[in-house]
Symmetry: C2
Subunit: 756 residues, 2 copies
């Protein structure tokens, strides 16, 4: 027998009675487990305010005397209809326990109500999160406050306080998103199943919705534990061209606004850490240039309260320099000089400042022009924050200790002898780790249908490695358990996102994926088949709105190539065709047919955008079947190969290039990195995502091209060599009419408009 | 009868039995209400692990067989002694209800345990927050996880789930700080009591500790409801010269690490909003310069799905332009031109980019030097984020609607006709409001002794207005109720912080302070009396470590002047002398004597740093007495006076200048702002905080100086005119040995070191 303790019951009843008299409340919906219903509660609600969203047989009479009798089971459509009527009205939902009705809840969420639930068959997560207490259209504060204040008048008992705290927790959760905290020393078992998501063409929203639709189908419809691992969107594109990245339609992450805005601040933490290091580099050069060894030493190792001591990071530096002394008074002049001078060569600085804003005017700047900087100006740039090496570290790290070590190893420049200068040399490792200590924790969110989602690390697989985090994947794998699925996003096509997923991320994590899901759209394939360019804002050309089998067939060469790329790694491929309403049956069938002929394990159309998880059931079934296949996963190249060979293998086998061509700069960087002992790292190519080649306009499967490597950098902390293909901008710009024109906040309801 | 439900009891017992066998756990402390103790629990703990921190008569036998019998009441000293022994050991505290023992809890917190409590005599807040579940030395995750997982195995009942959620809530709270959410439409009653805090000399830590010591004394020792309103520290100084700002010793805000790091991300939100606007300004100039009217119009008002519509922010702009049309097809060529062209004059841009990092190389930069920006480079600068006008708005706003309006009104530049161009003209108001929607909510924290603290808005009263927020003050006033006290920080001396508090913040809020608390230190007064300079790192000169009554007496001229400044506003002044261990009795007495002779209502020494609230009881009593006095509060100047007159009044009456001298730039800016209709705004001076004059090295009470006004800017959204006195840097730099050398993270315990 599950029921509320009497005093809570009486509070709920009292609150209902108050709401009966409150003219601003249009309906009261009670969502309680069946045996928690007492006549007391049922009788308390005035008939005209009764919106009983709980029992299968009586979905309730409605708002303001407008009786709405609905005796069907709470399928999505029935509840939807009910809720259409509620739209804009205030409805209070009080408490709950026992299994939640997914469809009701999911649709409440669509209306702006915030609930936290989980459709897992195990009760593991479910019991953690199955209280909800909220209002439609989010004017929760006032009513919630009222309940709270009543509860507070009672003498506190453990139950009452616990109940209260849970209410606060939920309240909190509504606004700031649960920052999921996990012990990092979990003993991760090797994964059973992991799916990686890649898309064929990047500028269509598809990857995220497929990820979300797939886990919704797996969990809410096929009763399989699943977890989606997504990347946190950058604010640059959110306010620039692209808009949000929470998925779309009935396949979304909620609360969508938090997802698309600051969330739990991970990207801000990266910005702060990245820029502290940048400031430290320039300040150090200035201080070394304007002070004698002695003055530097006195300032770096000052007398504090009569005592002169090295800090632990300074002791570590002394050790690296081969000076085994701990008393600052005993260093020789030569040792002092070695200790105080990093001798950074300003022309070799590769560490750039970052901002999470599309600010094209910061692409190339001159810094240090104030008089106070004494003429030490130099050319520099800002990158978009997600391109920071610290973001790559966040995605690849496996523990706090590992992250701290990687942060310390980041190379910011060379000294005048050509030796690498690191964050550790600048004494900033600890501070960077402190700034990143919370960002390392994945953020737990959920889909519209209650499937759990981890959000961690960032996008931009063209200029970064752009995968979701190893930690999120590992924790999720642990949570889904035997037979469960983790679907992790690997952005931007098989040629970039997937290749990096396999060669960099899988190598770091040791995880082996069971299936690759390749996302395709008819529109993208038509474009690869020679269709006209699509311009944002301009009406779609008829090639894309009318059936055109020839264009589709021609474009499938790109799909075929992407499937082949995935097969290079020995993992079965399922093609998910994201169906648009303009796609004809014949077009959809044709794509699936060609995909299967090209070696895909299966190819299925998906309708999750319009139908939620239900629309991706076929995909989920295909993924389950593919995951049960034998799997002969292998990397594309051995780390021991020379850097240049590894680049060539990627260019030829993945991109289809004839060969590569290195600029003199690239050549000298490669030989420097090899000499510095960084030759055995994997490769993270910076290449356009709009073509398999380096030229965005070359669609289909370009051949016979020579891939130009203009520069090569090293992300030693993240652990990869970073060749730049052609000219790649690392800072996007704002268009003439940025997304922000449509974004607004209603100050009365706190509702965000225009963000999607 | 208050007790745990049986199933929770059995879990606790089970957990205790497990801990008995765990060699890494050195002691188990149970903090439960007396009647919740069952023999089951008491008998479960192995004698050598028993750390019973609950009953008055038996503070418990201790860790590892080292029996510690303590039969005294849990005064601070006894508990302290107990805890000294526990240091470095893992101790688990489980559950609680009923009134908490303040002293125990406070000291647990000092040891790194995180608890949330409140010593208010009303139960209002207390009942909200009196569960705690934590471990000393913060290795909570593992054990907590273990309890949670056991709970989760039970079938969920409301009690269990609520308990669980509360545990999660606390867990959450430990890591991310409760983001306190309040309905903004509260009907604020006029304050009864509000104290404002100012300090005499800014570079000594004093203001924050006095604020905290004072509320600790008021609430934990005098049983008066009180609330402290502090500003969120900037990361710049935290990692630069100053270190954290959470107070110190036994007068601290906790969790101190969160307070000094990202907290709930308000400053990051300001950075994001500020820089989005900056990017929009430059991108717009570029787009207007490179496109025809028609191209601009087609892009700004595109055809989407066959329909062409103005967005609401564009309709608002049309209205401002006097074009009363809603159909994009009907605008004349002239109207289109007016609509699409803001015609920003790049030389008049006053909107700067910001970062919350001390990055001196960004003080003067050239932006837009990449080829993609087509030669539109210009000189610009980065300011420290807290100097952003958006921070000033956050501090002064009273509601979401008001904030949105202020954000829209911010002037970023003039057009080529000399008319102001605003954020609203750029179409970015809504996006800025969305970015700031959570930042507007004050963050609730607490002192070491459990007094509630709101943290909101930012510091830097020299280059900003630097006061804590109006919203935090108002909510706090509501919460403390009749007879309660709100102590709000107004940083940097009576000449800057307090003057701005009165003339800007009080004008906006309509709140009238009851008392001014002026913070002084013997060391600062000696410096004003002609003592030698104090250099960070160098040992203190003997003038400061030995008694020197003459220096103190000479320096009191500055204290006297500060008291007189406060009296200009008609509010009684209490001087709080922050006592250091090197201060002699005679010195302390002398300062208090002179302060009282100079017109202070009272002057008392404080020892909160070493003794917590107990050390500030005398101050609290003086403040209470002063607050009961008649109060004849008045502003220093009328808003209707010309800008130049208002500046002169501040310079003469507050700073003691003979007159002011305007540069030609300042003169022309003033006449422009007056013409633009901004003449009736209050004045926010940007002046050094190191002297009453504009010259940092002039200590004491300088006279006969002419105050140079080098430039005048306008913060129209915040609502003030912003004259720059002499050369004021708006971006600090990193010293040769920044604070970050000592900051580190222990990856095993997640403990932050060196941040204070």
């Amino acid at each position: 027998q599950t029921s509320f303790p009497p005093f809570i019951l009486s509070i709920i009843v009292g609150e209902i009675l108050r709401l009966n008299e409150d003219p601003t409340v249009h309906g009261v919906a009670l969502h309680l487990s069946e045996n928690a219903y007492s006549n007391k509660i049922l009788n308390a609600v005035k008939p005209e305010k009764d919106v009983d969203g709980v029992s299968d047989v009586n979905l309730g009479r409605l708002v303001r005397g407008d009786t709405y009798n609905c005796s069907i089971s709470p399928t999505a459509s029935a509840v939807m209809e009910l809720l259409e009527k509620l739209d804009g009205k205030k409805v209070l939902l009080v408490g709950t326990c026992g299994p939640l009705e997914a469809s009701l809840q999911c649709l409440l969420q669509r209306k702006g109500a915030m609930t936290m639930s989980c459709q897992w068959k195990t009760q593991q997560l479910q019991s953690k999160v199955n209280i909800f207490l909220c209002q439609i259209i989010r004017s929760h504060s006032a009513t919630l406050q009222c309940i709270l204040s009543k509860l507070m008048k009672l003498s506190p008992t453990p139950t009452c306080t616990a109940f209260l705290n849970s209410a606060i927790w939920i309240w909190l959760n509504i606004h700031i998103v649960l920052h999921f905290i996990f012990p990092f020393r979990m003993n991760f078992k090797q994964a059973n199943k992991i799916s990686s998501l890649s898309e064929i063409f990047s500028n269509l929203k598809g990857k995220s919705t497929v990820t979300i639709g797939l886990v919704q189908a797996l969990t809410a419809h096929l009763n399989v534990n699943s977890f989606a691992c997504l990347r946190q969107p950058s604010q640059g594109p959110t306010f620039g061209v692209k808009g949000g990245a929470a998925g779309g339609g009935y396949a979304q992450v909620i609360p969508m606004e938090e997802f698309n805005l600051h969330l739990t601040g991970d990207i801000h933490a990266i910005t702060a850490a990245n820029n502290l290091l940048a400031a430290a580099v320039d300040a150090r050069i200035l201080h070394e240039s304007t002070q004698s060894d002695k003055a530097l030493y006195n300032r770096l190792v000052p007398v504090v309260n009569g005592v002169r001591e090295f800090s632990s990071i300074q002791l570590a530096r002394l050790k690296r320099l081969g000076i085994n002394k701990t008393d600052p008074g005993t260093l020789t002049a030569d040792e002092i000089s070695k200790f105080v001078r990093l001798d950074i060569d300003p022309s070799t600085i590769t560490w750039q400042r970052v901002l999470d804003t599309n600010d094209r005017f910061l692409r190339k700047i001159t810094i240090g022009q104030a008089n106070t900087e004494k003429g030490f100006f130099r050319q520099a740039q800002f990158d978009i924050a997600v391109a920071s090496e610290i973001m790559a570290i966040l995605a690849l790290t496996t523990s706090l200790a590992d992250m701290k070590e990687r942060l310390g190893k980041m190379v910011v420049a060379n000294d005048k002898n050509g030796q690498p200068v690191t964050a550790e040399d600048l004494g900033v490792t600890g501070a960077l780790a402190v700034l990143m200590k919370d960002a390392i924790k994945p953020t737990l969110m959920q889909t519209l249908e209650g499937t759990p989602v981890f959000v961690h690390a960032g996008p931009f697989a063209n200029i970064a490695h752009g995968n979701s985090s190893v930690l999120a994947d590992k924790i999720a794998l642990k949570l889904v358990g035997e037979g469960g699925f983790v679907v992790t996003e690997a952005g931007f096509g098989a040629d970039i996102g997937m290749e990096k997923f396999f060669n960099i991320k899988c190598r770091t994590s040791g995880l082996v994926p069971s299936v690759v899901v390749l996302v395709a759209t008819v529109r993208a394939l038509k474009m690869h088949g020679g269709g006209p360019n699509v311009t944002a804002g301009a009406p779609l050309k008829k090639e894309y709105t009318e059936e055109n089998l020839q264009l589709v067939a021609d474009g499938c060469c790109n799909l075929q190539k992407q499937i082949q790329i995935a097969q290079l790694f020995g993992v079965p491929v399922v093609v998910a065709l994201n169906v648009f309403k303009t796609d004809s049956h014949a077009e959809v069938d044709l794509v699936c047919e060609i995909a299967k002929q090209s070696g895909a394990f299966d190819a299925v159309p998906c309708n999750h955008w319009s139908a939620g998880g239900r629309g991706a059931v076929e995909l989920a079934q295909a993924v389950r079947k593919a995951a049960s296949q034998e799997n002969s996963f292998k990397y594309l190249y051995n780390l021991e190969l020379p850097i240049i060979e590894k680049i060539r293998i990627i260019a030829q086998k993945v991109y289809g290039a004839e060969d590569i061509e290195l600029s003199p700069v690239a050549q000298s960087q490669i030989s420097r990195y090899s000499k510095q002992g960084f030759g055995n790292l994997p490769i993270c190519m910076a290449k356009t995502h709009l073509s398999l080649s380096h030229q965005p306009e070359r669609k289909g499967v370009p051949t016979g091209f020579i891939l130009p490597i203009s520069d090569v950098r090293a992300s030693i902390g993240a652990g990869f060599i970073y060749p730049l293909v052609g000219t790649m901008s690392t800072m996007p710009g704002l268009p003439t009419r940025p997304c922000f024109y449509d974004i607004d906040l209603d100050p009365d309801t706190e509702q965000v408009k225009g963000l999607f």
